[in-house]
């Protein structure tokens, strides 16, 4: 279908099904039960899942295929967000110009940074991108305050020009009148499912991005990128210039990041400078590696895992832990809570770090490799095709 082979069509359909039914899949537990704490099916988190999925898919085109490890991709995400919010400020709350401009601006920005950074490879490339991103962050945080509103973050104010805004127009981001925050809530017995408009817009764009990414992976262009990763010197000796290919990959992944940034701003019209900080750049690297670099579906899994940990585990406070472990005798409860609290609440980073180390050491191919091992365990030998399409990063 759509120019894909059977195997890739299956992957695309699985991702599509997951995206469409996410509001149901993520709200496994009835709304009023104790376990509802672990539900992730609320609009903001679902949107983050797919938006960071897009970000990681784009990052994977650069890192997974060419092996160039960029430590500054958050800069493109941030630039995209700022572009989108400026569109809201200048035109009106329609998300279409905002998203388009965010892709274009991030693309231009990545041409400049890519053109300079790609003069070097390996660790030097990583450091250069890191430096550029940190520079962008510092600029956005203080120097360029008139443009970015500094620490407070760029917001839309009622006295902004908004030239296309009509009287009584929408005052929240919308797609030709369809408000992003609109949602349908359906109660099925004790369960409650929320179907937000904003989420579905993000999900559709994520599927489009994913489809394009598959096409790139399977194209001759993708093959060139892989060639750069396996042996750039040999490629040069055969008379091919790798520079245009790497730059193209860099710009494409920058545009993906811009799209993600534009969508973040469309879901919540605020752009903060922290989006460009090096920790944010590191996050997408961790997402991609955690899920499985160089695999199609890995980045999406990684993005989902990290956002889930960040938003759900960081909210486990000690009061909650006391409630859960109340059945234990006191002398057991206190040490148990002491240990668990180090990994939850404000300690969720420790949890993430532990998980990351576990994956790197035990499953170098990321969560995708974990999935494959489980499949093998149940006796379903993966076909030769599967192995080529989900070969982990070297």
């Amino acid at each position: 279908m759509l120019g894909l082979n059977r195997k890739d069509t299956a992957i695309l359909l699985v991702v599509a099904a997951l995206a469409i039914f996410a509001p149901i899949i993520l709200n496994l537990f009835p709304a009023r039960s104790e376990l509802a704490f672990f539900n992730a099916g609320y609009p903001d988190l679902m949107q983050r899942f797919v938006i960071f999925g897009i970000f990681a898919i784009g990052f994977n085109i650069l890192f997974g295929l060419t092996g160039y490890l960029s430590f500054g991709h958050a800069a493109f995400l941030g630039v995209g967000s700022y572009a989108a919010v400026w569109m809201f400020k200048l035109l009106n709350y329609n998300v279409v110009p905002a998203i388009l401009l965010s892709i274009v601006v991030a693309g231009l920005f990545s041409v400049v940074i890519g053109w300079i950074s790609l003069r070097r490879s390996g660790i030097y490339f990583s450091i250069l991108t890191l430096a550029f991103a940190e520079m962008s962050y510092r600029l956005a945080y203080s120097v360029l305050t008139p443009l970015t509103n500094g620490e407070t973050g760029l917001q839309v104010y009622t006295d902004d020009p908004q030239v296309l805004m009509q009287a009584g127009g929408h005052i929240v981001p919308h797609l030709f009148g369809l408000e992003m925050r609109a949602r349908e809530v359906i109660d099925v017995g004790p369960w409650q499912f929320v179907f937000p408009v904003g989420y579905y817009l993000c999900a559709i764009l994520m599927l489009v991005s994913f489809y394009i990414s598959i096409r790139i992976f399977r194209s001759p262009f993708g093959l060139m990128l892989r060639a750069i990763k396996s042996n750039q010197t040999r490629m040069t000796y055969t008379g091919l210039n790798p520079k245009p290919y790497t730059l193209a990959a860099f710009v494409i992944s920058g545009m993906y990041a811009g799209l993600a940034g534009g969508l973040l701003a469309s879901m919540d019209p605020l752009a903060g400078a922290e989006r460009m900080q090096w920790t944010a750049s590191g996050e997408v690297v961790i997402m991609t590696i955690l899920g499985g670099a160089g695999t199609l579906i890995g980045p999406i899994l990684g993005a989902g895992t990290i956002k889930y940990l960040e938003n759900v585990f960081s909210k486990m406070n000690e009061g909650l832990l006391h409630k859960w472990f109340a059945f234990l005798p006191d002398w057991v409860e206190s040490p148990v809570i002491w240990v668990v609290s180090k990994f939850t609440g404000e300690g969720w980073h420790l949890m993430l770090g532990g998980l990351f180390m576990l994956v790197i050491i035990a499953l170098p191919g990321g969560l995708v490799e974990g999935g494959q091992r489980i499949m093998r365990l149940f006796g379903r030998k993966p076909k030769a095709e599967t192995r080529t399409s989900t070969e982990p990063a070297e």
Binding site: R138, E151, T152, G153, R183, G272, G319
Partner: protein, 448 residues
């Protein structure tokens, strides 16, 4: 480069898929039976406490959380009742809010606008929080206040000192009990004049973000009005930990007063650096060199240790005040946690009680009704003396404390001594004052 295989059938098929995808969201439109966002229906009501648990203001965040927990206990009729006994309004009965037991959820703002909004959103969307409170930085407070306005819940600001929170960025759904930079400056100026005279050259080091700027602007305006001159104002990044390179130029600038517009860990570091450079022993222009820290707190004093001695600043509240409200609060807090509360704790505790009380008086959780009950409300007994929640900008007006680092503290809880209680009249300003102008409360938004 990519081989394209466009067939008529393929195009039709992809067109159909795309069309179906585009049509999908139109099935879902906004509709809800509730009158306002997160109307509590069962026997409980959920409040969201969004505080920094990591990052530079984690100490303040931890103390805020303690205060919130204490307030919830008192609202539910557990513990001694604390300031509920001294509060001028007697609407709260210790049976929750309007008979509903109070529950709470917590989140980590990480002192980042983005993270704070994500955390507040999950409280509103997932946990059904009807009110969000907390915050230890003005950037975060402004961002979360904007979110609460959009979502249609009440925001009871915690520790936010910037003029913008109830100035340029004020919102109908947002309320601030804490004082602001203008009030600090108005309270400090007369004391500075008394202590250091009218002929002074001030050098400002300012944290480079909203709060720092408004604080610096306010102090500069107030000190210049009494005859001081401003030599220079240098902006420092929020993440800065070593201020040596910023302190060195002060020595040769001809200034005889250093104003540190820093807060939290920033202030601890910059003050320590300044003292290490021997600024306090210096004589410039025939006068002793002085350091001023406009916004003070016990937690910062603890961090700065010996260096804080004799340094003047302002506070919203201090546990050593002698009124009944303060005594009741310090007793309840001390019994539960074993040490006295910080001003961050007091403002968060007061905000929680004020919200609960407003709901009781309004007879509804509807944010518009609650907002109406809070606006223009006069109360007493929450530790700050008679206080007014001004309707024009949702800012509390009350006395401001001018404090000084104690020379010989008896223990780590007596690091700060009160110099003067500046009466409310002296710190009151017009809502259209140039430092606050440009904002618009807008309409209250009940959401849904």
């Amino acid at each position: 480069m990519t081989k394209t295989t466009l067939s008529r059938r393929g195009v039709l098929k992809s067109g159909a898929v795309a069309g179906a995808g585009l049509a999908l969201p139109t099935i879902f439109t906004a509709s809800s039976a509730a009158a306002f966002t997160n109307e509590p229906t069962g026997g409980t009501v959920t409040l969201g406490f969004n505080v920094p648990q990591s990052g530079p203001y984690a100490d303040e965040g931890a103390d805020e959380l303690r205060a919130f927990e204490l307030a919830v206990e008192h609202l539910n009729g557990e513990g001694g009742g604390g300031m509920m006994n001294t509060f001028s309004s007697k609407a709260l009965k210790g049976n929750g809010i309007m008979g509903k037991k109070v529950q709470y959820v917590t989140g980590d703002t990480q002192t980042k606008s983005d993270a704070a909004r994500a955390s507040a959103k999950s409280m509103i969307e997932k946990d059904g929080a009807i009110m969000i409170s907390g915050g230890s930085s003005s950037g975060v407070a402004v961002a979360v206040q904007g979110l609460c306005q959009e979502a249609g819940v009440i925001f009871m600001a915690g520790l936010t000192h910037s003029n913008d929170t109830t100035g340029k960025d004020k919102k109908a759904n947002g309320f601030r009990h804490f004082f602001n930079a203008y009030m600090s400056a108005a309270a400090l100026a007369p004391v500075l004049e008394k202590l250091y005279g009218t002929d002074r050259q001030a050098y400002h080091l300012t944290a480079d973000y909203t709060w720092g700027w408004t604080q610096q602007e306010s102090i500069q305006a107030a000190t210049e009005a009494m005859g001081w001159k401003t030599v220079n104002n240098v902006l420092t990044p929020l993440a800065q930990t070593d201020f040596s390179s910023y302190i060195a130029p002060v020595i040769n600038s001809g200034a005889d007063v250093l104003v540190l517009n820093h807060y939290g860990g920033n202030m601890v570091n910059s003050l320590t650096n300044a003292v290490q450079f021997g600024l306090r022993e210096k004589q410039v222009n025939g006068k002793n060199f002085e350091i001023v820290v406009p916004l003070y707190s016990e937690l910062m004093a603890k961090g700065a240790g010996q260096n804080i001695k004799g340094i003047v600043g302002s506070q919203n509240w201090d546990w050593k005040l002698e009124d009944d409200g303060t005594k009741a609060f310090v007793k309840a807090f001390g019994e539960k946690y074993g040490f006295p509360p910080s001003q961050a704790a007091q403002t968060c505790y007061a905000q929680t009680l004020l919200y609960a009380d407003a709901v009781e008086r309004a007879g509804s959780f509807n944010p518009c009704a609650v907002g109406e009950a809070l606006a223009g409300y006069e109360f007493d007994g929450l530790g700050n003396g008679p206080t007014l929640y001004r309707a024009d900008d949702h800012q509390c007006f009350k006395d401001v404390l001018v404090v000084r680092g104690a020379e010989n503290p008896q223990d780590e809880f007596h690091l700060v001594e009160i110099v003067e209680v500046t009466p409310v009249e002296q710190v009151t300003y017009d809502p259209e004052h140039p430092m606050f102008a440009g904002g618009n409360l807008g309409e209250c938004n009940p959401g849904a």
